[in-house]
């Protein structure tokens, strides 16, 4: 497949990295310095403006199958898709936007863009899911939210540290699919021992997963939540929380914006102040909050605020991070979850480039492992076979099956049937093998 990626920012780079091994990738980037950074990948880089027809032709838009417009400018992305669509009607176009208004408009049938993904919405959603499972470092939904995958750290004093996977007794509906130890992905057997410091990946129904994680860390879901930063992401997060019956606090320093927010968020308490003022945070009893979500626009300030929040005794701080390389700094000051809008959107876009049937994926441990959602076609090689026949290669595990809206926790004697959705955990180099096995 020939893929054109417009914009070699963090999103574009992540997409190119995920795709270049199995596809012909062309990246269009106007900044010469940035495209130097792509030299280690086996791709073609075209210098120029991604919305100009001339550049697009140069990149071979007429021969391409897929166009991904993921610059940081919404308008450029939309125009690029529309222009390319006119040059090649067969092309599948994906546009990344940040303003959800475009998404609403697109849903009514905006021409030229086949798929539109919105960073703000997916970030807000990621935050909200993370709040629902407060202990996890990484959470992802599959099968329309019927399946949850979480990644949780085994801390000092965790009741299952030192037990085998079998002895840890996950509740029915929850499967331990992997242990990540010192960056190594392990698919554990029943006798493998869970150690302190491991990252445990589990898959199952939201209820069972939440129950299991609560047992591991001894905490409950968050009710009193404070959001710092009333930008578009902050607003979306507040909206999502309101829809889940939570009445959050929202701190925003711009008075005009506060008026707008307070009008549009009936169940949110909007506070007009600087979110990094310690006296103010103390006065508002910030330490009683079960979680603080830090989504202010400047990364440096977020880092400072996160540090303050941790000092004030906030149990859980979720912070927005704009550059993947800064995540470590955030973790050093004690941030529990660092959410990177660009990484999220890259995941969402890569999802569409998969073979038919693979609906949702999640990247773990800097892409050393993936969780896939596969729809089993009729006539697939795995359909009708029991899981213990070992058709799936080593390094993969079926974590859950969704059949007619029912969730099945797979055992060895279970069979996969056509129409099932299988949630499969696979280490990086087995992803292709799994997809080939299921679809050919």
């Amino acid at each position: 497949m020939r893929v054109i990626v417009i914009g070699a920012g963090e999103v574009g780079t992540a997409i190119a990295e995920a795709l270049y091994r199995t596809n012909d990738v062309v990246v269009i980037e106007r900044n010469h310095q940035r495209y130097e950074l792509l030299q280690h990948l086996d791709i073609l880089v075209v210098e120029g403006n991604g919305s100009s027809p001339k550049t697009l032709m140069e990149a071979g838009v007429d021969k391409a199958d897929l166009l991904i417009a993921c610059t940081d400018v919404d308008e450029v992305n939309i125009v690029a898709c529309a222009t390319s669509k006119q040059l090649d009607i067969e092309l599948l176009t994906i546009a990344r936007v940040q303003d959800p208004d475009y998404l609403t408009h697109w849903k009514k049938g905006y021409l030229g863009v086949d798929v539109m993904v919105c960073s703000e919405l997916s970030t807000a959603k990621a935050v909200a899911i993370n709040l629902a499972v407060p202990e996890a470092k990484h959470v992802n939904e599959f099968a329309d939210g019927k399946i949850l995958m979480t990644e949780i750290e085994i801390r000092n004093g965790c009741p299952i540290a030192g037990l085998t996977v079998l002895e840890s007794h996950p509740p029915p509906g929850c499967t331990i699919v992997s242990l990540i130890r010192d960056g190594q992905v392990i698919i554990p057997g029943g006798d493998d021992i869970i150690l302190e410091g491991d990252l445990l990946v589990n898959i199952g129904t939201p209820k069972a997963v939440a129950q299991f994680n609560a047992r591991l860390s001894g905490t409950k879901g968050s009710r009193h939540v404070v959001i710092i930063g009333g930008g578009r992401i902050g607003y979306r997060v507040a909206r999502l929380l309101e829809s889940k019956g939570i009445s959050p606090y929202l701190i925003e320093s711009d008075a005009e914006r506060c008026l707008w927010l307070s009008e549009h968020l009936p169940h949110t308490l909007v506070l007009n102040h600087d979110g990094s003022d310690v006296d103010f945070l103390k006065r508002e009893k910030i330490h009683t909050a079960e979680a603080v979500i830090n989504v202010a626009p400047t990364e440096e300030k977020n880092l400072l605020t996160s540090l303050l929040l941790k000092r004030l005794g906030v149990k859980r701080v979720i912070s927005r991070v704009d550059q993947t390389s800064h995540i470590q700094a955030f973790e050093m000051v004690g941030v529990d979850v660092a959410i990177n809008p660009r990484k999220l959107i890259a995941e969402e876009i890569i999802r569409f480039t998969r073979q038919r049937g693979t609906e949702a994926i999640s990247l773990l441990e800097e892409e050393r492992a993936e969780v896939l959602e596969l729809e089993i076609p009729s006539g697939s090689r795995v359909s009708g076979h029991q899981l213990n026949e070992k058709l799936f290669p080593p390094g993969t595990i079926v974590g859950a099956i969704v059949r007619n809206q029912e969730v099945i926790t797979p055992r060895g004697e279970d069979r996969l049937l056509p129409g099932d959705h299988a949630i499969v955990f696979a280490v990086e180099n087995k992803v292709k093998a799994v997809e080939t096995l299921v679809y050919q």
Binding site: A255, S262, V270, L271, N272
Partner: protein, 485 residues
Amino acid sequence: MRRRIVVDVVPALHLVAAIIRWLSLTYLLPLGIALAYGESPLPFLIPMLLAGFLGFVGEYLTRTDRELSVREGFLVVGLAWLTIAAFGALPYVFVNHSFINAYFEAMSGFTTTGATILTDIENQPMGLLMWRQFTQWLGGMGIIVLAVAILPKLAVGGRQLMEAEAPGPSVDQLSPRIYQTARTLWKVYVALTFVQFGLLKLLGLSFFDSLAHAFTTMSTGGFSPRAAGLAFFAPAAQWVVILFMILAGTNFALMYRVLLGNVKQLWRDSEFRFYFILIVLSGLLVAGLLDAGSVEERLRHGWFQTASIITSTGFASTDFAQWATTLKMVLLMLMFFGGCAGSTGGSIKIVRSLLVFKFVIRELRKVIHPQAVIPVRLGRRVVNEGALNGIMAFAILYVTTFAVGSVLLLLDAQRVGLNLSVLEGVSAAAATLGNIGPAFGLAGPMASYADFPETSKLLMVFLMWAGRLELFPVLVLLTRRYWQR
């Protein structure tokens, strides 16, 4: 040095004269009743000719092509109500009442207050009694609203006039043109009056009684041609009156939408919801505190009196002036709520009471979170701060006027040696300012305001006038800035 008056009086007077000319037609109804009962038609014939003549001459003398501006609108509204009450007083004068008493009765009529100076009601001529009822019906939906609906010259500039007269913070516009809205409101009003008239007639009341009470229920007036008021009627008729009092206190624009089939809107309207719950709960409270009678009787009297007071009608199914002091205190508190905005009810209005309450809650929350930005909402809509300030100012002005009025009434009573208790004096001020009517003691529902000194009667005329027009349009006329700059 005298400063020049900048208010353009001439077009304002022109409009008032036109309204008076049209008013002459309204004497036809009592005239017909008088003829039907074999009474002298003169008390109505003379005012009719006089109003027609003076209106015509006034209109001719003030003819002008200058247009009415916003500022003159207040003058028109204020003046129209004063003049109409004067013409409305004439029939009483011709039947041998003093002018002050007649003016009080006419103002009480047009403002739908329902406070009366008549002592032997059932011995008055039938024509006069019907006139009394009819003035309330005319005043209920509003003289200006009626004028806007029928006078072609108001078809364009009528909006601010209606704003000045309409009960509640703003006019709920139903159609693009204001005269269409005015007509729609009057149509709903006429239709509901007719339905109530039919129901009362079916329940066995005479033609005269059915019409008389339909006139004063839908207008939340409260006059009755019977000395015993509504206590005279059977329980079934009283239940019908309860229902129609509640309807009369509801926003007519809302009722119109409900009649068009949008029934869900009724309960979604937070003002109506508050209004309805208030009547139900306070009625139950009163029923629970009453110590005599069957359950049906107590519920009926409870709901009748609370609906009557809250909607500012002022009917009584029993002499509530005889009730225990605690119950009277409950009724006194209820006098401050009023009907919904855009209804015929008086007093502060439910929507304002509700917003004042929400404003206070907001300020309480702000004590805890000084930096919080909290909008005040009505349903899902956010009320803008400017409108909120206006409503707070109104509430403060209303309570101040009430307090000053109460003190003046008590002082005046002391001056002439009238035996007026504090509760009675306070309730009389609240009942006239809120256009409710009966209060307690000598102003009670089975008594009469006749014993008050004339100075007090004039004060109460002012309170009724200012209360009906919701203070601002009247009080602005009393400021120097209005006239000079």
